[in-house]
């Protein structure tokens, strides 16, 4: 028990937890995108709604939902904890500093991009998950998506959030490989391909959906 508690409170242990929860959230992103793509199917949302009903009613999904929320909260909590302790570790700033010459902006702003994504998630979960699950008003999920994406303001917020998510993952994916000790020279091509998939391809495909509902309908 002592080993486990010292692991979770140590700097390296907290980073490893960030990497593990980060990978878990990335795997959720893939599933989420796969189901969202059914919104593009020309069947008035029938297939999408079938999946949405399945996710809302199938009993085995409940524990997975709880694990997913726990993963999100853990990732956000540890991220905040690390940010605070890291600020304490460098109490005095340099008068002259040139961080752009030794590190990327994405790596230095991962906390802030993550914080914005967290705010987006609160809004996003409230718009779709909370309203359909706890305030059933007879609307199907497809109708809910259609309604939400008729607002240019909401679509803009969604697109900005996706840009922040992309920037967060630009640092996060390769960083998780590094933290989990998987970043080796022989896997470099594979890791770079996975990073591009997560930070560029997936957010770009996600961005197609609000634009499709706003512009094509």
């Amino acid at each position: 028990m002592n080993k486990i508690s010292s692991f979770t409170t140590s700097s390296v242990g907290r980073k490893l937890s960030m990497g593990l929860t980060g990978f878990f959230l990335c795997s959720f992103l893939v599933v989420h995108l796969y189901l969202n793509l059914f919104l593009l199917k020309q069947d008035r949302g029938s297939t999408f709604d079938t999946y949405a009903d399945f996710m809302a009613t199938y009993p085995l999904i409940r524990p997975l939902e709880i694990i997913l929320f726990a993963g999100f909260l853990l990732h956000a909590f540890i991220g905040g904890w690390l940010w605070i302790t890291n600020r304490i570790a460098r109490p005095v700033r340099y008068a002259a500093n040139r961080p752009s010459e030794n590190s990327t902006l994405a790596s230095r702003t991962a906390f802030w991009t993550g914080a914005f994504v967290f705010i987006f998630l609160v809004v996003h979960v409230n718009t779709f998950f909370v309203r359909s699950r706890f305030f059933a008003d007879g609307m199907t999920m497809h109708e809910r998506v259609y309604e939400a994406f008729q607002s240019p303001l909401y679509v803009t917020f969604y697109l900005v959030a996706l840009a922040f998510l992309a920037y967060h993952l630009k640092h996060g994916v390769q960083s998780a490989f590094q933290t989990l000790g998987l970043r080796r020279r022989r896997y470099e091509t594979l890791i770079n391909a996975a990073a591009v998939l997560f930070w560029l391809v997936i957010p770009a495909v996600f961005a197609v959906l609000p634009l499709y509902f706003l512009l094509a309908h």
Partner: protein, 250 residues
């Protein structure tokens, strides 16, 4: 003989650990482009002594880039603008006549300023004392090839062993993290057979001491690798993470 330069220096002055520090501006002429950065500071100190002022305190020893004693944050970069170079091996030809140069001490909670540009880096010594050694009896030097070590492994261990413990990694990291230093030491010993016996205790003890000293966590910005005068790779941090996970969970 190259032409001499006139430099404006903005130097951090601080009487002792508890005093408030401030920047003091000095204009220094007669600086040769062939001088090292430390020789330029020597020239400044001679000038200050001549004027009856207190000279600027800064750490230095070998002045050959191998001891890791010099520790200056020059114009926003640890050890100055050149890659793979300590401040003592930085020459004034890197700068131009009339340049203004800001010189600061390493900034990290675990490296408190003792005086002017000198910081207390004994936290590194305590991390080493916690586990950065081999305590098993290894006997005398073995004959060549008695312990076979594949060439790439030996090379990687030697790359890690190149760390001079200057603290530039901590200084450059926005989190004041000592991960590259600790990783180099853990990695060097974990790679070689002599270090295998204690690898689990070593990584646990060194990480615990690193945290106790108040260093921050690594957030993989890789500023440490970019500023390390010995160009220690962050791949050693990846190895440290694996070593730690293995020690804690398996």
């Amino acid at each position: 003989m190259s032409e001499s330069m006139t430099i404006t220096l903005n130097v951090w002055r601080q009487k002792d650990k508890t005093s408030e520090g401030r920047f003091v501006r000095y204009t220094l002429s007669g600086v040769s482009p062939d001088m090292s950065f430390l020789e330029m500071l020597d020239l400044l100190n001679l000038d200050l002594i001549r004027r009856g002022e207190e000279p600027v305190a800064f750490d230095h020893d070998c002045r050959e880039g191998i001891c890791g004693t010099c520790s200056l944050y020059i114009n926003g970069r640890a050890h100055g603008p050149l890659k793979g170079v300590t401040a003592c091996q930085l020459h004034m030809r890197t700068f131009h006549d009339g340049d203004a140069i800001t010189v600061e001490p390493w900034r990290a909670r675990a490296f408190p300023v003792i005086r002017d540009l000198v910081v207390d880096r004994s936290a590194f010594d305590r991390i080493m004392a916690a586990g950065g050694f081999v305590s098993v009896r290894t006997g005398g030097a073995p004959d060549a090839n008695t312990i076979p070590i594949p060439k790439p492994v030996a090379e990687e261990a030697m790359d890690a062993a190149a760390c001079i413990g200057c603290g530039a990694c901590v200084a450059a990291c926005k989190n004041g993290s000592a991960m590259l230093f600790v990783a180099a030491k853990v990695s060097q010993l974990a790679l070689l057979p002599q270090g295998h016996a204690e690898r689990r205790q070593r990584v646990e003890a060194m990480v615990a001491q690193m945290d106790a000293e108040g260093f921050g966590s690594c957030s993989n910005t890789y500023a440490c690798e970019a500023e390390c005068p010995k160009q220690i790779s962050v791949s050693h941090i990846a190895r440290l993470n694996t070593e730690y996970l293995r020690a804690k969970l398996l």
